[in-house]
Each structure stands twice: as structure tokens, then as C-alpha cells.
């Protein structure tokens, strides 16, 4: 027991590696939220009239909505007037090549281990880098354009591809969806836009790297991915933020649209600053992610590794509308110290022969609270729908909590729905077995945690799997092992 305590002690003392700030001159909106701010953001982005109208409509709806209270998380009331809704690194002129990027910025991304340099094709990943409110750079654009793939920042998409944006934006997550979604619709500043044309298999992983840098800002980005018939794309998302004493707000929306026979794979490694070990500071991560399997035989797969944020509120969901469509959700959520996570998924079975699979692994340590909240809904016409859910929780230490709130609603007799959940700590017999074979307790704990999360980590693309494993090491394993 003493040894385990020492292990946990070490665990709580591990520092957040990405906590540095970069001194970049920023162009910021004044603090607070009003219609003027919404207009300010829209004007800053040189948006067309319809976009501004759309934002204002969402803002007015947001004003009428109450803040949701149902999640199993506690945090002081957010003062929405104490947030800067727009912050952008000052850009003197339009960039012609990546060489013109502010060296400070470039250095920031180098520090984060992200190459913005197109010449260095070692990683083979196309990156859209978003700092605070705006997209800084998108790499490999021309190569992707040859295949007809559009991969650019959201603000660029609004200007360059207004028809596509207008057709799909807000169709999966309407602005009235929830409180934070409405807020995002009003003030979103940037994000990524991906369009994969019919029959195209995207040759490389697309990736967005989000970084909050400025103080007192909120980040409100929006991602929209459209996969046309028979296409495939694998998309990665990573995020970090500096260490600051005050809480910062992140309210994003991700919308995925999968047409007939297409496959979208969306992976997230979320590592926002979680706050210090007394719960001071950290990001409030209130994210709405939803995909729709619009066409037959389409597939959407969410994989997430959640290690950061002070408070997480996130439910990547799939609407299985097309017949034979497939939805998957793989999640590892690690909470430590004072972190709180309420995360899970929704699988809505509408089409025939639809299948969904949920694997959720929660790890709670310190004084954290980790909740799984999920919904599996089988509609009346969803013949032969199939769901399998598994949500396991691992508790490390006796000050933390693990909770599961699965909702299962079935209205069709030919469907099969299974759900199972377990909660336990690392078995003493397992540790003993390892010890007996000469593996130290620290290594054994690391081994067991890694094995526990493996089912999910295996779903990540190679480049990310490495990062995720490192992250687990930082959040837990490194300190344990």
C-alpha cells in the first residue's frame, strides 16, 4: 500500500509539459459578449452577410437558453462577460508561403512537436494549426487539392466554398442543440473544413492542432468534415494550452457527414491544461461532437484519448441514418488531481441493420471524478440493429470517483443491445503475479494500465498512437512506472 501511495504521490506531482506561453503579439476583441462582439468577429473574418445573420440568430437563441446542469461536474458559474471571444496572432499580410510565418509561432509548434514545414515530409500528415482563434497554417494543401480534397481553415472555407459550408454547416449540430453549441455558433472564430469528393481515399492523415495561447480568451472552433460517396478520411485532432491560474473556456463543435459507402475516422488526443493539483486553473472543455451516417453502408468512428482539461463535457455521437451504417466510439478518459470528466457517446439507430460499438475506459486518480454517460437508442424502424457497449472504470486511490450513466432505449424487437460495465482497482493478484516474475510494482501498474487502455489506443492512427501513449505516460503511467 505504501508503495502504491508513493506511486500516486509521484503521479500527482508530474507537471504539465505543454504549459509554456508564447509571446506573440495578438489582435484581440475587447472582453465580454454582446451582439457587437458577434459583429466584430464576423467583420474581422470578412464574412458574408448570411454568415453574420446565422451567428446573430444563434446568439439570440443562446440568450434564451439556460445553462445545463445535468452533467456530473461541478464548477463555479462561468462569467461569459469575462472572456475574450477573439484573439489572433497579428498577421501583417496574407502569407504566401510558410516561411513567412512568425518565427515565434513556428517555434511554438516545433516545441509541441508539430512540423509546419511542408518540406519535411517525414510525418506525412497534413496539418491545420489553430492558435487561439485563428488558423495559422495548413500544410500539404496543393497536394490534396490535386485529388479534389479541400482541407482549409473554416474562415477560408466560408469565403472560398460558401455553397458547401452553407449546405452543411449546422445540419448535424443545429445552433439550438444545446447551450454551448449555441454559444459556439455565435462566436466561433475558426476551425477546420474538410471535403472529400466522391470515390477519393484521402492519402494522408489530416490533422488539426489547437492551441490556446492568450490569457482570458476562450477558444470556440468549429470543424466540418464531409465525406462524399465512397470516400475515406482519417482525421486527427490535438490540443494543448499554457498553464494559467484562471480557468479558460473551450466550446467547440465538430460535425461529420458521411455519405453512402464512405468512412470517416476521427481521432482526438485532448490534452488541454488540466489545472494544478489543487484544481486551480485549467480548461473548461464543453464540446459538441456529432456525426451522421447519412448514406447506406457508411461508417463513422470516434476515438478519443482524454487526459487534459479541468472539466470535460463531451459526447461524440453518431446518428445511424443509412441502412447498414456503422458507428464506433473508443475512449480512454484519464482524470487526475481535481479533474472532472463527464464523457461518453450517443448512438441513434434509425436505419436497418445498423451497428454500433462502444468501448469506454475510464481511469480516475487523485481526487478526480470520471463519469461515462451514454445513450443507445434503437428506433422503431431500425430492424436488426446491433449494439455492444462496454465501459470499464479503473480507480487509483480512494479519493476519486467513477460513475456510469448509460441510457438504453429500445423500440424494435429484432434488435440486440448489450451493455456491460465494471469498476475495480488494479487487482492485488495481478500485481502479485507481476512481482513474482520480477516486475516492480511501478512497472506492473504501468503495464496493467497500458493493457487496460490498449483496446482503445489500438484504434488510433500510428502517429497518434505514439503521442497518446506518451500522453498516458505523462498523465499517469510515467508517474506510476
Amino acid at each position: 500500500m505504501g508503495k502504491e501511495n508513493a506511486v500516486l504521490e509521484e503521479l500527482t506531482s508530474t507537471e504539465y509539459k505543454y504549459g509554456f506561453t508564447t509571446d506573440i503579439e495578438a489582435d484581440e476583441a475587447p472582453m465580454g459578449l454582446s451582439e457587437d462582439i458577434v459583429r466584430f468577429i464576423s467583420a474581422k473574418k470578412n464574412e458574408p452577410e448570411w454568415m453574420l445573420e446565422w451567428r446573430l440568430k444563434a446568439y439570440r437563441q443562446w440568450l434564451l437558453m439556460p445553462e445545463p446542469k445535468w452533467a456530473n461536474v461541478q464548477y463555479p458559474k462561468i462569467d461569459f462577460q469575462a472572456v475574450k471571444y477573439y484573439s489572433a496572432p497579428v498577421q501583417k499580410k496574407t502569407l504566401n508561403s510558410l516561411d513567412e510565418i512568425d518565427p515565434e509561432l513556428r517555434a511554438t509548434f516545433e516545441k509541441l512537436g508539430i512540423s509546419l514545414d511542408e518540406q519535411k515530409r517525414l510525418t506525412g500528415v497534413a496539418v491545420d494549426a489553430v492558435i487561439d482563434s485563428v488558423s495559422i497554417a495548413t500544410t500539404f494543401k496543393t497536394k490534396l487539392a490535386e485529388l479534389g480534397i479541400i482541407f482549409c481553415s473554416m474562415s477560408e472555407a466560408v469565403k472560398e466554398h460558401p455553397d458547401l459550408v452553407r449546405k452543411y454547416l449546422g445540419t448535424v449540430v443545429p445552433s439550438t442543440d444545446n447551450y454551448f453549441a449555441a454559444l459556439n455558433c455565435a462566436v466561433f472564430s475558426d476551425g477546420s473544413f474538410v471535403y472529400i469528393p466522391k470515390g477519393v481515399r484521402c492519402p494522408m492523415e489530416l490533422s488539426t492542432y489547437f492551441r490556446i495561447n492568450a490569457a482570458n480568451t476562450g477558444q470556440f472552433e468549429r470543424t466540418l468534415i464531409i465525406a462524399e460517396e465512397g470516400s475515406y478520411v482519417s482525421y486527427l485532432e490535438g490540443c494543448t494550452a499554457p498553464m494559467r491560474d484562471e480557468n479558460q473556456l473551450h466550446a467547440a463543435i465538430v460535425e461529420l457527414i458521411a455519405q453512402k459507402d464512405s468512412y470517416i475516422k476521427y481521432s482526438t488526443v485532448q490534452n488541454w491544461y488540466p489545472g494544478d493539483k489543487n484544481g486551480k486553473g485549467g480548461i473548461y472543455n464543453f464540446v459538441t461532437k456529432r456525426g451522421i451516417c447519412n448514406g447506406d453502408n457508411s461508417k463513422i468512428s470516434w476515438t478519443q484519448v482524454e487526459t487534459g482539461s479541468a472539466v470535460t463535457w463531451k459526447y461524440p455521437s453518431v446518428i445511424l441514418k443509412g441502412d447498414n451504417s456503422v458507428g464506433e466510439f473508443y475512449s480512454v478518459a484519464v482524470t487526475n488531481n481535481m479533474q472532472q470528466a463527464d464523457t461518453g457517446t450517443k448512438m441513434i439507430h434509425i436505419g436497418k441493420n445498423t451497428k454500433s460499438r462502444i468501448v469506454s475506459k475510464g481511469i480516475s486518480a487523485g481526487r478526480s471524478q470520471n463519469s461515462y454517460r451514454g445513450l443507445v437508442k434503437v428506433m422503431k424502424r431500425a430492424e436488426n440493429a446491433r449494439n455492444f457497449s462496454q465501459c470499464d472504470s479503473l480507480l487509483m486511490g480512494d479519493q476519486c470517483g467513477a460513475h456510469t450513466f448509460p441510457y438504453i432505449e429500445v423500440q424494435n424487437k429484432s434488435s440486440k443491445v448489450e451493455h456491460e460495465a465494471t469498476t475495480s482497482k488494479i487487482g492485488e493478484d495481478q500485481l502479485f503475479y507481476c512481482n513474482q516474475r520480477g516486475i516492480s510494482t511501478e512497472d506492473a501498474v504501468a503495464l496493467i494500465v497500458n493493457g487496460y487502455a490498449k483496446e482503445v489506443l489500438n484504434q488510433l492512427p500510428m502517429e497518434f498512437a505514439v503521442e497518446a501513449q506518451k500522453l498516458l505516460a505523462i498523465s499517469l503511467e510515467g508517474s506510476v512506472g
Partner: protein, 448 residues
């Protein structure tokens, strides 16, 4: 109650103003029963009125009532919520022969012919049943000590309603080392005459005692009026005691809310089996608190949904102390246009290390017009525990049907046999032979 709101200014949140009804109730609350003369009970009832008025009836916006609408109760109107003191002695309908000591409650009221009519029941030494209205001084003290301590009027409107309005009830005691010879059967009949009928039962099981109880809710099979019943039971189970309870619900023509609130001492064992067979709208709330160590709580349930019936089972196990176990198995079948709901909560508090808590919920859905909603829920604050839950929903497996058909059974027989096997896993836990026979017969009939 510090924030005691004046009744005349408080309105029920559902928009249906029940205040005037309760004002009338409080002014005219002179039932003349001994229990109401106890100042503690009177206080309890007064607070319960305030709690009910403050809460109103729950709507589907309330997380605990997400799938179950209480509209039928609201539709009764305010006057139905004014309990009528029973001026006439209720008349019981004929009952089945349970081959065991039997008590009949009509609209929740005990039928009292003479003083202490239950003393003649052959229950075994130390087991005693007394109507609240006939309790002696020592028993009044017992009732005052425990009544309302487990069932929370402040957070459950139906408990508040029952507490405010019950007229009489049953105190069932098992004194130290007393062991039930036979299963005490309680038959619940509803006439619909009183609209809302309240049943209140208090069980006190002392150390090393064993009590066996079987409820049969028969509802209102002959009556014209739909009946509404609220049955609240509180059970105090002392260390080393054993309590076994069956409840079989054939709540014909009756909207029913049941609430079971039990607390278990060290090394005690409780087994509670709930079988729902019929009734248009039934909500069962089962709450088990385990503050004792090395205690064991077993909860079994079977529900057969048919027609347009709604059956809602909510269970909660609260592990407060270390080293206790709980097992839960609920099985449901839904056909026709029925709705079956299960919500099972397991709480493990931080002190409750070495808890083993298991929960399983299996459902068969036999029609595309039926709905099965389940929400198993674990909330764990202790690390050294083993907790699991499993939930499944699906149709009867085709493979065993094929197996049986290959051996000469026809499709109906094969399905029926499989359904019986499915149901018997729960029925086998019933302690009352006659209720088990009733449940088995209902399962056999179910597919025809």
C-alpha cells in the same frame, strides 16, 4: 424544517394547484386515530404536506421520471388529494387461499373487527402485526421512532403524499431471535372509491430475527372506477437479522406507486423479489441502504409488460460501510404496446471499501410497438471494490428455438418454454409457494 413555506402561497410546480386541497386537509385533519394524536406523527404529516406542495407531482422533465408520465394522477384533480377519513369499515372481496396466514388491506386500510384481530394469526413466537390505530404505548414509541426516517418526504413527492395522507397502516415486528413459521401474506385490494388510496407499512426486524412476508396486489378487478394506490414500506433490519419479502403485482385497473425503503445492520440479509404481472401503470421504487458491514442485499425482479401497460422499476442500493455485498437481477419482457423501464443505481460511498455489488438487467422485446428503456447506473467513490452491471435487450434467441423444434416442439411451445426458463430464474426466488404458482401461470399464459 427551517424553510417552512406558508401553504396558502405555495403552489405545486406542475401547474395543478393542489394548495387549496391541502389547506382543507390540514384544517380538517381530525381522523381520531391514535397515531395522529402523537405529536411527532402529526409534525411528520404536516411537514409532508409542505414537502408535497413544494414538489408537486413529477413531470417527465424530472430525471427520475424521464420515461414515466404522472399525468393520470394530475388528471384526478385537487379534490382527489384530500383524503377522506374512513367512516365506513372497508369490506374485503373474497381472496384466494394462500395456505398461509393472510391479512387483507382494502384501499390500504386494515379491516379491524375487534381489538387486535391479528393476534390470532399463526405467525410464530415473537412475530406481531398491529394496525397503527391499535398500537400500545410501547409500539407508539416504536412507530414514532422509525416512521418517516427512511422514506424521504422531502425528495419524493409520492412519499410526501403518502406520509401526509395515510390514515392507518401496519406495524410488523419481529422481536429478538423470533423466527417466522410461515410466510405472512398481505393482500392489497383497491376499490377506486377513495380515488387515491394510501398504504403504509413499517417493519421492525430485531437482532437474529427472521421475517418472511409476501404481498399480493390484486388491484381492482371488479370495480368500475380506476384506482390509484401509493404503498410505502419502511424496513429496519437489525444486525444479524433476515428479511425476505415477495411482492406480486396484478394491479388490475389500478395505477400503483410502491416505495420500499430498507436499512440493513451488520451481517443482516435481505431478499426482495418484485414480480409485475399486470396493471396499467406501475412504478416501483426500491431503496436499500446498507450502513452495516458484512451485510447482504438481494434484489430480484421480473416484469411482464403487455397491452398498453407501463411498468417502471427504479432501484437504488447505497453501500455506506465496508465489506457488504449486493446482488441484483431484474428481467423484463415487453410485448404489444407496453413500455418497460428499469433504472438501477448502485452507490458505493468512500468508506465502503471491499464492497461487491453486482447488477444485471435482461430484457426481451417481443413487439416493434413495445419499448424497453434501461439505465443501469454506477456511482463509485471507493477504490477497493468490485462492481459491475450488465444490461441486454433483444428477442428470444433463434438457436435454442431451432434446437427445441428439432426435437419435436412447435414454434409456440418452444418460445413458451424459453420464456418460462427466462422468467423462472427470478420466480424461483419467491418464498411464497402460492405466489410462485400465480407468477408461473401468468408466464405460461403470456405468449397466448
Amino acid at each position: 424544517m427551517t424553510d417552512h413555506k406558508p401553504l396558502s402561497t405555495t403552489k405545486a410546480t406542475n401547474g395543478n394547484d393542489l394548495t387549496s386541497a391541502f389547506d382543507a386537509l390540514m384544517l380538517g385533519h381530525q381522523s381520531g386515530l391514535l397515531i395522529d394524536q402523537e405529536p411527532i406523527i402529526k409534525d411528520l404529516k404536516q411537514q409532508a404536506v409542505a414537502h408535497f406542495v413544494a414538489q408537486g407531482l413529477p413531470t417527465i422533465k424530472h430525471e427520475e421520471w424521464k420515461y414515466t408520465s404522472t399525468k393520470a394522477f394530475t388528471a384526478l384533480g385537487a379534490e382527489a388529494f384530500v383524503p377522506t377519513p374512513n367512516s365506513v369499515v372497508p369490506q374485503a372481496q373474497a381472496i384466494a387461499d394462500y395456505a398461509a396466514p393472510t391479512i387483507v388491506l382494502v384501499d390500504g386500510q386494515p379491516i379491524l373487527n375487534g381489538a387486535d384481530p391479528y393476534s390470532k394469526l399463526d405467525l410464530g413466537k415473537g412475530i406481531r402485526v398491529t394496525a397503527f390505530s391499535q398500537t400500545d404505548a410501547a409500539q407508539v414509541e416504536l412507530v414514532a421512532k422509525y416512521l418517516g426516517t427512511l422514506a424521504p418526504a422531502e425528495s419524493d413527492p409520492f412519499v410526501a403524499l403518502n406520509t401526509a395522507s395515510f390514515q392507518d397502516g401496519l406495524l410488523i415486528e419481529a422481536s429478538k431471535n423470533a423466527v417466522s413459521d410461515a410466510v405472512l401474506h398481505i393482500v392489497h385490494q383497491y376499490t377506486g372509491a377513495a380515488k387515491l388510496a394510501y398504504t403504509r407499512i413499517l417493519l421492525v426486524v430485531d437482532q437474529h430475527a427472521e421475517l418472511k412476508l409476501a404481498h399480493h396486489i390484486v388491484g381492482n378487478p371488479d370495480g368500475e372506477n380506476a384506482a390509484f394506490g401509493v404503498l410505502i414500506t419502511e424496513a429496519i433490519v437489525a444486525p444479524d437479522a433476515i428479511l425476505k419479502v415477495d411482492i406480486v403485482e396484478e394491479a388490475i385497473n389500478t395505477h400503483l406507486v410502491t416505495g420500499w425503503y430498507a436499512t440493513q445492520g451488520d451481517k443482516s440479509v435481505t431478499t426482495h423479489s418484485t414480480i409485475y404481472l399486470d396493471g396499467p401503470w406501475v412504478r416501483n421504487n426500491l431503496n436499500l441502504a446498507i450502513p452495516g458491514q458484512y451485510a447482504e442485499g438481494n434484489m430480484y425482479g421480473l416484469y411482464l409488460g403487455s397491452d398498453r401497460n407501463l411498468i417502471d422499476n427504479h432501484t437504488l442500493v447505497d453501500h455506506i460501510a465496508p465489506n457488504s455485498n449486493s446482488n441484483e437481477l431484474y428481467k423484463g419482457v415487453a410485448k404489444d404496446r407496453s413500455t418497460a423501464i428499469f433504472n438501477g443505481k448502485i452507490f458505493v460511498k468512500q468508506a465502503a471499501q471491499k464492497t461487491n455489488a453486482f447488477q444485471s438487467n435482461r430484457n426481451l422485446i417481443l413487439s416493434d410497438d413495445a419499448t424497453v428503456n434501461t439505465k443501469p447506473q454506477l456511482e463509485i467513490f471507493a477504490d477497493d471494490v468490485k462492481c459491475s452491471h450488465g444490461a441486454t435487450t433483444g428477442a428470444l434467441d433463434e438457436e435454442p428455438i431451432f434446437y427445441l423444434r428439432a426435437r419435436g416442439l412447435d414454434e409456440d411451445q418452444a418460445r413458451s418454454l424459453l420464456l418460462q426458463a427466462f422468467a423462472d430464474e427470478v420466480n424461483d426466488y419467491l418464498i411464497s409457494d402460492s405466489l410462485r404458482a400465480i407468477a408461473s401461470a401468468a408466464v405460461e399464459r403470456f405468449l397466448h
